[in-house]
């Protein structure tokens, strides 16, 4: 990692001895934590074989609960990402518009939905509209609420990404477009946006992690996603703790894979010379709320 090169000299004999001691200390502490967790679980009889074997022996655990829940999670995430992409593109371009009224309005909408917690929007959409009116059927009401809330929030984040992506392009791009006779909006659409979208690809993939994690909020409004499935699985098989741990592992594996994809895309773009000039770690770029905003100030 580059941080090591910056922070530390190549170790001499004394430092190597210190590192060896720290290695032992680290291993001891890690083992102590693991032992403490396992002992606590053992005391509460959570290591009983019967609680864990259903995950291997009983296919219903997967077909009836976990995979069904995972499908709910992926369905909501996929729909939200598509709608959020459209929302983000529309409002991101709106914010870049030369018309002061349009850019002001789009800016206000984006800033508003970025600062309201997703759960606030979700419960209001569900209890206020979808669950009580016949806009959608009762069975799709939770899905509609989850997708609406995630679309508004993540769409606003993507709108900011679009804007900061366009701002971080060299100004010569826009000037060249204008000087060959394109109109400002043509320049935006055919010159600036394609480059900006490519540069923000890693952040977009990273945003997928945020969406996937946030679908778990649907548990509040009874949307049948993975966390909800783990809950019912836990009561059906009386193995709450193992059910949550397995659900968490599924989330971790999927999200970790997505983070790696984002990093790979970033490396690939860099090797083509199209990545962002100053790349931050992909995870934090996507996950932290105002990162898009701060990125646009860097230039």
């Amino acid at each position: 990692m580059s941080s090591e090169i910056v922070l530390f000299d190549a170790p001499g004999p004394k430092a190597r001895r210190r590192h060896a001691i720290l290695t032992v200390v680290g291993i001891v502490i890690a083992l102590a934590i693991a032992w403490l967790v396992l002992r606590k679980m053992g005391e509460a009889n959570q290591l009983e074989k019967s609680l864990w074997t259903p995950f291997v022996t009983d296919p219903e655990v997967w077909t009836q609960y976990l995979l069904t829940g995972l499908w709910g999670t992926i369905k909501a995430a996929a729909l939200s990402v598509v709608f959020a992409g459209i929302f983000g593109l529309v409002f991101g371009m709106g914010r870049l518009s030369g018309n002061r009224w349009i850019s002001g309005l789009c800016g206000a909408v984006v800033e508003f939905f970025r600062s309201v917690p997703v759960l606030i929007m979700m419960v209001f959409a569900y209890f206020g509209y979808f669950a009580t009116s016949d806009l959608v059927s009762a069975s799709t009401a939770p899905l509609a609420s989850v997708v609406l809330a995630l679309t508004l929030y993540n769409g606003s984040v993507i709108a900011e990404l679009v804007r900061s992506g366009v701002f971080s392009l060299p100004s010569g791009q826009r000037e060249a477009g204008l000087s060959i006779g394109l109109s400002p909006s043509q320049t935006l659409r055919s010159i600036q946006l394609p480059q900006a979208l490519t540069a923000m690809l890693p952040a977009l993939v990273g945003q997928l992690v945020v969406v996937l994690k946030d679908t778990a909020l649907g548990v509040v409004i009874t949307y049948p996603e993975l966390l909800n499935a783990a809950k019912t699985l836990g009561s059906a098989y009386a193995n709450t703790v193992p059910a949550y741990i397995v659900a968490a592992l599924i989330f971790i594996v999927i999200n970790y894979a997505l983070t790696r994809v984002a990093a790979a895309v970033e490396r690939w773009l860099k090797s083509r010379g199209q990545g962002p000039q100053k790349a931050g770690p992909a995870g934090i770029t996507a996950a932290a709320v105002a990162e898009a905003e701060s990125a646009s100030h860097g230039h």
């Binding site: 530390f8 502490i29 509460a44 419960v123 679908t215 909020l217 659900a247 996950a287």
Partner: protein, 221 residues
């Protein structure tokens, strides 16, 4: 609107939001700094522990951690923080928020370290500064300045994420209370905007503050 304000304790709910934000911000900063030190340390095992921590908690939904803290850790493993059920949930909410956001604090600090060009460290060594001198005089000041903007983002995300505590705190917290009001009184846009305004008031000044700070303290390169 008037009777909603008198019937429900909205200010009280936001007071819980503020308390949780403060507690979790302090907890996440302390824990996140420790994890960041592990993650940039020159010792492989410590780096592995730090990296594992970040990968585990950054990739697990906060909602899952919240639910697990009560249904799993409290009820089944029997680790309670208070005899009173709602106090227990309150303290667990603060701990879970700290643990979850510590992963993001760590990444923010690390991204601050990563903004330092290698030349800075090489220059510090070549003018004869000791390890401690180059760390305290040259590297850490730059790293903290570079970390201000992402730390601000994490703090804002934390304040908004306190709403997730509604899954274990119920109506004593803003999102839970809004759910209850909407369920009982029907959809009322003014109520929604009141809650939204509460979060805008909590987060907007912080956003402006951190943006200004990071700009003013930016290292000219």
């Amino acid at each position: 609107m008037g009777d909603i304000l008198s019937k429900y304790d909205i200010l009280g709910a936001f007071w819980v939001t503020i308390q949780l934000s403060l507690l979790a911000a302090i907890g996440a900063l302390v824990l996140g700094t420790i994890v960041a030190i592990l993650r940039v340390s020159p010792v492989g095992v410590l780096r592995f522990i730090g990296t594992s921590y970040v990968n585990i908690f950054r990739n697990t939904p906060l909602t899952l951690l919240m639910v697990f803290s009560i249904l799993g850790i409290s009820f089944i493993l029997g680790i309670s923080l208070s005899q009173d059920l709602s106090r227990n949930a309150y303290w667990w909410a603060a701990i879970v928020l700290s643990v979850y956001h510590a992963a993001f604090v760590c990444e923010a600090l690390r991204s601050g370290v990563n903004t330092i060009p290698t030349g800075q460290a090489e220059a510090a060594r070549s003018i004869g500064l000791t390890f401690n001198q180059s760390l305290t005089e040259v590297l850490l000041p730059q790293a903290f300045r570079g970390a201000i903007a992402p730390l601000g983002s994490v703090l804002i995300a934390l304040i908004k994420n306190t709403t997730v505590a509604a899954v274990i705190l119920g109506t004593s917290e803003a999102a839970g209370l809004l759910a209850q009001i909407t369920e009982n009184e029907g959809a009322s846009l003014p109520t929604f905007f009141l809650f939204a305004l509460g979060f805008v008031i909590l987060t907007l000044p912080l956003g402006i503050l951190f943006t200004n700070l990071s700009r003013r303290l930016a290292v000219k390169r």
